[in-house]
């Protein structure tokens, strides 16, 4: 038996060795080839890189990424600027009735359920999105900061808690959405069971089902987006907190600095570039909220049988691509550009505010 194990080990060692030898030889051949090419070029006084300017060389190295970006990012951006001027664009037969500069923007801005609450639902995409952004982003940032400071200060079970908080990051959104929907079930859902302990009357207390009122479904949605956004933030904050020199804390300890002041005067300013980065990216991310709503409420964007709607701006845009108004890409493009403008303005505001508060 022992003999067999030794034989198996030897066999795998042999395989490993031959693989390494193979790569070694490949490199030898390539080196040889490079040398020959170099010799050939030298003999004929050819120096392809010599005359090319620096940017040309850079362009060659960047070209693979640039090609991908051009096809999937730059072209769609340019295209959306082009689409926006078409009047009554029809995707199926690719026809337009004319050109317009503001027509599509005006249509979006005056459309029911974009900014103006729709008469049949009483809710609008922009208001929904703003509520989600301005509630979930600050809460999740503060929570993430608190949790990462707490995680940094505990020793036992640190790895365990880090894993727990990181799990949402690696878990499928739709799967989490289903779990949430189950947790918030009216009959026998985990949340209602929990509330029952505190004597809350939970009969018919609906969160994501037909009787749910607007703020209850919105609460679930915000709860969900905070929780799923925490993982990445905690990871970033924890890493940057761990990068702070311990001596700052020792110096503060000797000066009898209370914990709260250490947090606000030392920890937060020292990781402020990371906080700023997280704020900007999560505001952008929250504005683009889409799959969380779909995961919880389906493509309708609302619990079944309710009057209101939890549609976000991105969902509004998508409905012109494959939803009820399918085919009118011009309106979708106009709405995307409005979303872009909102995000741009907010980011510029954040950058201005951060100039004083962020210490690099």
């Amino acid at each position: 038996m022992a003999n067999l194990i030794i034989k198996i080990k030897k066999f795998f060692a042999m395989i490993g060795k031959s693989i390494k030898t193979f790569f070694w030889n490949v490199r030898r051949i390539l080196n040889n080839f490079k040398k020959r090419v170099g010799n050939f070029l030298d003999r004929h006084h050819i120096n392809p890189a010599g005359k090319a300017p620096g940017w040309a060389k850079a362009l060659i190295y960047l070209s693979p990424a640039l090609v991908v970006l051009a096809v999937f990012t730059f072209w769609p951006i340019i295209n959306s600027f082009a689409l926006v001027v078409y009047e009554n664009y029809n995707m199926t037969n690719n026809t337009i009735t004319g050109y317009t500069i503001f027509g599509n923007f005006i249509r979006v801005l005056t459309d029911e359920s974009f900014i103006v609450p729709a008469s049949h639902t009483g809710s609008s995409a922009v208001i929904n999105t703003l509520i989600i952004v301005f509630i979930s982003v600050p809460i999740s940032i503060f929570l993430a900061l608190a949790i990462s400071v707490a995680l940094n200060s505990i020793k036992p079970l640190k790895g365990f808690f880090q894993t727990i908080y990181f799990l949402p990051y690696v878990t499928n959104t739709i799967a989490i959405g289903l779990v949430f929907a189950y947790m918030f079930k009216t009959d026998g859902g985990l949340v209602n069971q929990f509330l029952k302990i505190f004597g809350v009357n939970v009969t018919g207390l609906s969160w994501v089902e037909s009787n749910a009122v607007y703020w209850r479904s919105m609460f679930v949605l915000i709860f969900y987006s905070i929780w799923s956004a925490l993982a990445f933030k905690i990871m970033v904050f924890l890493t940057s907190i761990q990068g702070i020199d311990k001596q700052y804390y020792q110096a503060a300890a000797i000066d009898a600095t209370p914990k709260g002041r250490i947090f606000s005067k030392i920890t937060v300013p020292l990781i402020s570039p990371m906080i700023f980065y997280i704020t900007v990216t999560s505001v952008i991310g929250a504005f683009k909220i889409y799959n969380a709503i779909v995961a919880l409420f389906g493509v309708a964007g609302a619990p079944p049988g309710v009057r209101y709607n939890l549609q976000s701006i991105v969902m509004y845009i998508y409905q012109f691509i494959d939803g009820s108004n399918a085919g009118n890409l011009s309106v979708a493009a106009a709405a995307s550009l409005i979303l872009f403008a909102i995000i741009l303005v907010l980011t510029i505001v954040q950058m201005q505010v951060s100039k004083k508060r962020v210490h690099y």
Partner: protein, 352 residues
């Protein structure tokens, strides 16, 4: 404030349960208002001792007294110490003013008085006009001054400095040495500082403690320690160029070097370690004749190399007393500048 260490011991235990004795039963009393250096090679436990005084490291055994108060169990913030870190640990996002103000913000001090104290302290350390700058806009020496000001502004009972000059260049180091000495004189604060540089320790401290493997080797005023080293380690550690040490026999109360009688000593026969400092030799025609191996002219002095009992010996003598190409010279040395150490324990036997 008198600072007293009683039987202070620190044992570090690593993950495998291996124990390292970092500080071994230190018994030191630092008089009020003196500047004391903890001196020793790397890993001798000097920084650990300092951090134990600061309260950042808990001692395994022993006690620390500030005056009559036993502070051994006290948290660092309750001890009333000012600590200057090796790399200063200035808060990078705060101005110099805010940095110095920071300790006062945690105390019960009126705002006007706090501002006044910050300004006074900044002027004392000579950075009065840099208060609006950020630490990154300061030179190393200026950062050092800010760190000292921050440590002193809350009027601590004891000032602790961890390798305060090691991050500065040679010229600044000389200047900051004098500055630290001056600031300490002006404030009259009991100061302990850690260094591995014997020259630095000797030039600024009132007294110094030499440590090796966590054990106190000698505690004395610098010049006394230099002239009367307690043991071979201290003798070897102090002085640049280092002391010459070699083995020699004593026969019939005579120290035998190179087979000849060198000087009279009052010791029993046997083998000893002998130490002689290079600068204590004098060239005199009626002295002990040695064969010169090499001559180096180094400015003011001349360094000659020769052998004592097959050990290379260096001597610094007056340039005028040696000529180029000379191969023999007579040397004398005062008897009280010859140190004879026990071969087993390294303790000095004829001096101190």
């Amino acid at each position: 404030m008198e600072l007293r260490l009683e039987n202070l011991t620190k044992i570090f235990t690593n993950k495998n349960g291996q124990e390292t004795l970092a500080v071994d039963a230190l018994d030191i009393t630092i008089e009020s208002g003196t500047l004391v250096a903890l001196l020793g090679p790397s890993g001798c436990g000097k920084s650990t001792t300092l951090f134990m005084i600061a309260g950042l490291v808990k001692p395994t055994a022993g006690k620390i007294f500030f005056g009559e108060d036993d502070v051994t169990k006290l948290a660092p913030e309750k001890r009333g110490i000012g600590l200057v870190f090796q790399n200063y640990a200035l808060y990078p996002h705060m101005t110099v003013f805010k940095n110095i103000l920071f300790p006062l913000e945690n105390m019960d001090v009126p705002r006007d008085e706090a501002f006044e104290r910050v300004k006074d302290m900044a002027n004392l350390v000579g950075i009065g006009e840099l208060l609006d700058r950020k630490p990154s806009q300061l030179s190393g020496g200026q950062q050092q001054r800010v760190a000292i000001a921050r440590a002193l502004v809350k009027k601590p009972r004891v000032l602790l400095l961890d390798e305060p000059l090691s991050n500065l260049d040679a010229r600044l180091r000389l200047q900051m040495r004098e500055e630290i000495k001056r600031i300490q004189r002006e404030t009259g604060i009991t100061t302990v500082f850690v260094t591995h540089d014997q020259e630095e320790a000797m030039s600024i401290s009132d007294k110094m403690v030499v440590l090796d493997f966590g054990k106190e080797q000698q505690y004395d005023a610098p010049q006394d320690m230099y002239n009367q080293p307690g043991n071979l380690f201290v003798a070897k550690f102090l002085g640049n160029p280092p002391i010459n040490s070699f083995e020699a026999n004593v026969k019939n109360k005579q120290l035998i070097i190179n087979g000849k009688e060198f000087m009279k000593v009052n010791l029993p026969d046997g083998e000893y370690f002998v130490g002689m400092r290079p600068e204590n030799f004098r060239a005199k025609s009626d002295g002990f004749i040695v064969d010169i191996k090499e001559i180096f002219h180094i400015g003011r002095d001349t360094m000659i190399h020769f052998d004592f009992n097959n050990t290379n010996i260096r001597a610094l003598v007056d340039s005028d007393s040696i000529e180029e190409g000379q191969n023999k010279v007579g040397l004398t040395i005062k008897p009280d500048r010859v140190y004879i150490f026990d071969k087993e324990t390294g303790k000095v036997l004829n001096n101190g």
